[in-house]
Symmetry: C2
Subunit: 396 residues, 2 copies
């Protein structure tokens, strides 16, 4: 029926794509500046090169003292100096004296407590302390947050601002992260013109280049290159020459004539066939010059859905991103489906955990897809569902 030699279930094709992409998606470490690492994933644990805090410092503005000197209060002590939060190597504190100290400043050796300024009065030369403090109070010991050699961050962590902050606090400027896969995007078809052009009858705007580029970025990868080629195989060969970790194509793989991807790649061992899904039935894979090529059908909804089903989950895993939320909802509408194919309808979340079908089933309904926020999954064996029936949905 398909005219192709092969047909597969979604799971079979997904497993094949995962296996084909595995080498390209194997974590490749690289080192980047900490200030550019937001959202990236650590490729190795980071050990602290320093103690944090770096040195014993004051938690308060006040006076550094020996706790023994302030055991009975009130007590008046001579002020013998001042330590501010800046480069400083204060002399040791002599017994029976106090040093004015600022938050974050070095606590002098000999001092073992800081008296907050609000528990003191001072005439400038002496300080009268109204409340004593035990040894250690308001003193931040060196290394009490983290010791040199301790794990600062684990491997496999998606870096948020607080993680970058602790790297900076430890003086680290570069961090080893998993490299983002570089994805080359090739849309095919002599009927396509770029948005902004003036199409003549028979031409349509290329939306798949925009859709795939954005979807690749949203899945945590980078766009290595973007090209549109006509039905001329020479153009496709040129586009495939651009360096990338993997290639995505749209169009040119079904059974009609002028199917440039199939024409070029099938004689060179491409795996071309039909997957039991709708939209998105025609699917292919190939390897070109050692680089995996994942080929989607060209109808816009088919392209976008194929990426979401077969490639996005793999990219998100590499990027440490959460997968699309899948949850069961109640259909607001009756639906019909084709036996033997898993159908991906497009819907919108509605109140009470329901889902409203928001688009016809056609694979050209790109506005219908944009108006949707859920995919509604109708299993292969189901041909009709009633309003109120339970369905699986995937968040878009």
């Amino acid at each position: 029926m398909s005219g192709h030699g092969h047909s597969w279930s979604i799971e079979e094709h997904a497993a094949h794509v995962a296996e084909l992409l595995a080498p390209a998606l194997a974590p490749r470490p690289g080192t980047i500046p900490v200030d550019e690492a937001l959202g990236r994933v650590t490729s190795a644990a980071v050990l602290s090169p320093v103690d944090l805090p770096l040195f014993r410092n004051s938690q308060m503005d006040g006076f550094a003292v020996r706790s023994a000197d302030v055991a009975p209060t009130p007590t008046t002590l001579p002020i013998v100096g001042e330590v501010a939060a800046r480069p400083s190597s204060p002399p040791d504190l002599a017994p029976g004296t106090a040093v004015r100290i600022m938050t974050g400043a070095v606590v002098p050796n000999g001092a073992d407590a800081v008296i907050p300024v609000e528990d003191t009065t001072s005439d400038g030369d002496t300080v009268t302390i109204s409340r004593g403090r035990s040894a250690g109070e308001f003193v931040r010991e060196r290394g009490n947050d983290l010791r040199a050699g301790d794990e600062l961050l684990p491997a496999g962590l998606r870096l948020g601002s607080r993680h970058l902050a602790v790297l900076a606090a430890a003086g680290i400027t570069e961090v080893a992260v998993v490299a983002r896969p570089r994805v080359s995007i090739i849309t095919t078809g002599s009927e396509l013109v770029p948005p902004g052009a003036t199409p003549v009858l028979g031409q349509v705007f290329d939306s798949n280049g925009t859709a795939l580029a954005a979807a690749v970025i949203a899945a945590g990868a980078v766009v290595a290159a973007r090209a549109h080629v006509t039905d001329d195989p020479a153009e496709l060969i040129a586009a495939l020459a651009v360096p990338a970790d993997l290639v995505l194509t749209s169009g040119g793989i079904s059974m009609g004539d002028y199917e440039v991807v199939r024409e070029l790649l099938e004689p060179r061992g491409a795996r071309v066939g039909h997957v039991a899904m709708q939209p998105g039935g025609p699917q292919a894979t190939a390897v070109w010059d050692g680089v995996p090529v994942i080929c989607f059908p060209g109808n816009p909804v088919s392209t976008q859905l194929s990426f979401e089903v077969f490639v996005a989950p793999l990219l998100r895993t590499v990027a440490g991103l959460p997968q699309a939320v899948r949850e069961r909802r109640q259909l607001s509408d009756a639906v019909v489906s084709v036996a033997g194919r898993r159908q991906f309808l497009r819907g919108r979340a509605a109140e009470g955990g329901r889902v409203v079908i928001a688009s016809g089933p056609g694979s050209h309904l790109v506005a219908g897809l944009a108006a949707s926020d859920l995919l509604v999954i109708i299993p292969e064996e189901v041909t009709a569902l009633n309003a109120g029936d339970d369905v699986e949905t995937w968040a878009l």
Copy 2:
């Protein structure tokens, strides 16, 4: 007790910050290329300039016919031409004839159905059709996805790949989006050295610049500038001269000496005081040359927490980003807190909906914060909680 003239609840200060920032955060529209608009928020509804599909086209590879000619089947019709998916103005289809047609190709006037190739056999000159089709079958009518003038996308929509796809499909290359607030970040303190430097005793690495820059980006805004200044007010004046929609500062607002932010801004009308929270008590705001300045305390945990409490929610709203998830969890540990201040402890999510305290309460514990994934909120009036008690948590 604070030594400052004012003290406020978290809600009072948050409302003040929101009011101060409202003009800076009022949606300012700007137009950007569609290919750069992923994650941005539309500032106006987008109306379609075209019908989608642009023209009546075939849903299948097969033969365009008059449905009346294939009512009794099998029927054999002469093939009078071919229409591929490319620029083409096919002649009208004469009664009793068929035209070979590709998916996406223009359906000739006169034809009202497409017979899929799998329901046909052909010797090249004629096609024998084994199954008839009704008028309209496998024909995509012009405008059946969307009509010119219809709303393509609503205002206030955070743009995902499917939304950019429909803009491209309609030929649109520029989209009006809400401008991202430009945030200037100034860290203060003569004790700070940049990560990568070699600190002497009394110096610490500046982690707040890194933390705030990343947090601003994560909240959907952009970093207009980043500076570190010492305790010299002239440096702060220079840093404040950089154009931005709002300024964030860290450090220099508490009651000690060498508090450069307070020293410069308080005589010029800054609002300086204490908020009933821990960490993060000292807080200030100012306006400098018409630009709002939000001043956080300098301890790293205080800085990061202050951003999360007072500024991040406002930026996320502008960016159309979800707010941090807040949910109640069971404490795994007993905790104590200070009466009269809302305490933000740092914890990690644990199984069974529990939360484990993952850090001491000190505002310098930047590694403890990095090791946490939840803030644990202890209300002002609570001084102790037991293991098993219920607490509010915010996701980091």
